[in-house]
Symmetry: D2
Subunit: 145 residues, 4 copies
C-alpha cells in the first residue's frame, strides 16, 4: 500500500472496540499499532489457548491473523469499515508457537471498493521466524451517501 496517514487512530480504534467486547473475552487482543493499511496486534499468552504438545493452538493463530488484517483495514478505510466481514481466510502453520504471546503484523494488499485483501504474519513473541502466515479477504460495507 502507498504510505499515507492512517484513517483511524489507535485511540479511535480502541474506543469503538470497547463496546462490543463479547468475543474479546476469549481473545484478549491488544492493538499495538494502526497505520494506513497496516497494524500490529498482540495476544497475551494464557493457559486456555494451549493445545496438546504445550503450544498455543491453531485457532488462536487463525483468530489473531483474522483480527489483525481487520485492524489494518480499519486503518486503510477508517472507522466506517468496522463492519467489514471476512469472506475467506487461508492459513499456513509454519512452526510451533510454544507458550508465548503471539504478535501479528498485518498488511493490506488491496483496498478495493467492495473487497479488501491482506496478509498477517504471526510470530511467537521474541522469535524471528514466523509461526503462521494468513491471507484473508473482507467484504467492505457499502458507503451510504
Amino acid at each position: 500500500m502507498p504510505q499515507k496517514q492512517s484513517l483511524a487512530t489507535l485511540e479511535e480504534f480502541k474506543a469503538f472496540c470497547a463496546d462490543e467486547a463479547d468475543f474479546l473475552e476469549v481473545y484478549d487482543f491488544q492493538a499495538e499499532r494502526i497505520d494506513y493499511g497496516e497494524a500490529t496486534v498482540r495476544l497475551p499468552y494464557e493457559r486456555k489457548h494451549v493445545r496438546p504438545g504445550e503450544t498455543v493452538s491453531g485457532p488462536a493463530m487463525m483468530a489473531i491473523g483474522d483480527y489483525t488484517v481487520w485492524v489494518a483495514i480499519v486503518g486503510a478505510y477508517g472507522v466506517m469499515a468496522k463492519m467489514a466481514v471476512t469472506t475467506s481466510l487461508n492459513i499456513n502453520f509454519l512452526r510451533a508457537a510454544g507458550l508465548n504471546d503471539l504478535v501479528c503484523e498485518g498488511r493490506v494488499f488491496k483496498r478495493g471498493k467492495r473487497l479488501a485483501v491482506g496478509e498477517g504474519t504471526v510470530y511467537a513473541d521474541g522469535y524471528e521466524e514466523p509461526v503462521a502466515h494468513v491471507t484473508a479477504t473482507y467484504s467492505i460495507p457499502p458507503v451510504k451517501t
Copy 2:
C-alpha cells in the same frame, strides 16, 4: 473415503480428550459422531463467541472446522493420529450464523501416509444452508515400529 469401520470409538475419543482440556475451556466442542474418516461436532452457543452484528464469530467457525476434520482423521487412522497437526486451512464464510449452536460435518478426502486432507461444512443448528466451508491439511506423525 471407502466405508469402513471407524478406527476409534466415540468413547475412546472422549477418553483421550478429557486429559488435555486447556483450549477446550474456550471451545466446548461436543463430538457427536466419529466414523471412518467422518465426524460430527457441536459447539454450544455461548455469549463469548459472539461478534458485533449479533452472530457467532469467524474464529469460532474456523476452530470447529479444524477440530471436526481432526476428529474425522482420528476416525480414519485411530488414536495414534491424535498428535496430527494442521499444516494449512482454508475457510469460506458463506452466511451469518446468528446466535445458534454450530454443528460441523467433517470428512476426510485423502488418508495419506504423511498427509491427510479433509473438509468440514459448518451449519447453524437447525438451518439447511451452511454458514462456512473449511478444507484443511494435517501432518500425520510417523508410526514408530
Copy 3:
C-alpha cells in the same frame, strides 16, 4: 443449492464461449453439463499438460477447477454472470492424475448478490477417488437496471 432449473442452457453457454476463445487454446475445456449451480467439465488429455513424473500438471487441475465453478455460477445466475471474476481460489492436490482426461464436478455453495462461492472436485477420468479439490470465490458483476 436448492434444486431449480438452470438459468443458462448448455447451448447458450457454448454460444457465448465460442467468441472468446483465446485461453481455450491452452485448455480445451468441454462443458458436459450445466444445471442450476452445478456443472461438469472435461479437459481432454493432451501431452502439453504433462509434468515430470508422467502426470497431468497442477496448473491444469487449478484451471479446470476454476473454470468448472464458473460454469456452475453461469447456471445459477444466467448468462449475465459470464463476466464474474475469480477473487480467490484454494486447491488441495490429493493424488496423481496420471495421463488421463480430467473431469471436474462443480457446485455453488453460496449464490450471493455480490459474491458467489463454490467447490470443484477433480477426477482422473475413470477413477473413483478425486485427484484435487478446489474452492473458489467470484465477484458477481452488478446488474445494470
Copy 4:
C-alpha cells in the same frame, strides 16, 4: 529465510528443466533469478493466455505462482528437490493484469524436512501494485541415504 547461498545455480536449474519440457509448451516460464529460498520468474505475454476482458487469465497467474515458489524451493534445497510436489495452493486475485508479461517474486517461509511453504507475489511487468498473491505448500521427497 536466513540469507545463505543458493543450493542450485540458475544454470543448473535451467539444465534439468530443459529435458522435461511438456507443460512448458503451455507456459514459457523464464527463470530470471534463483537464490537461497528465493526466485524470480517471468511469463512472457502471449495471446493464448488472454481471458475475456482483455487481460491475462487467472490460470496463468496460478501457474506462475506455483512454479516460482517451486523454483525458490529448488534454491533452498538444491536440485534434489526438483520432484517436490505441490500439496495445496491458495491465490488471491488483486487486480487485472492487462496484456503484459507476468513477473513473480517467490520466497520460502518454511524449509522443513517434509514440507516447504512459500509465497509468490505476481506483478504485471512495469506496474508497482501486485496482480495476485499466492501461498503454497510442497511435499519434499525423502532423501535417500
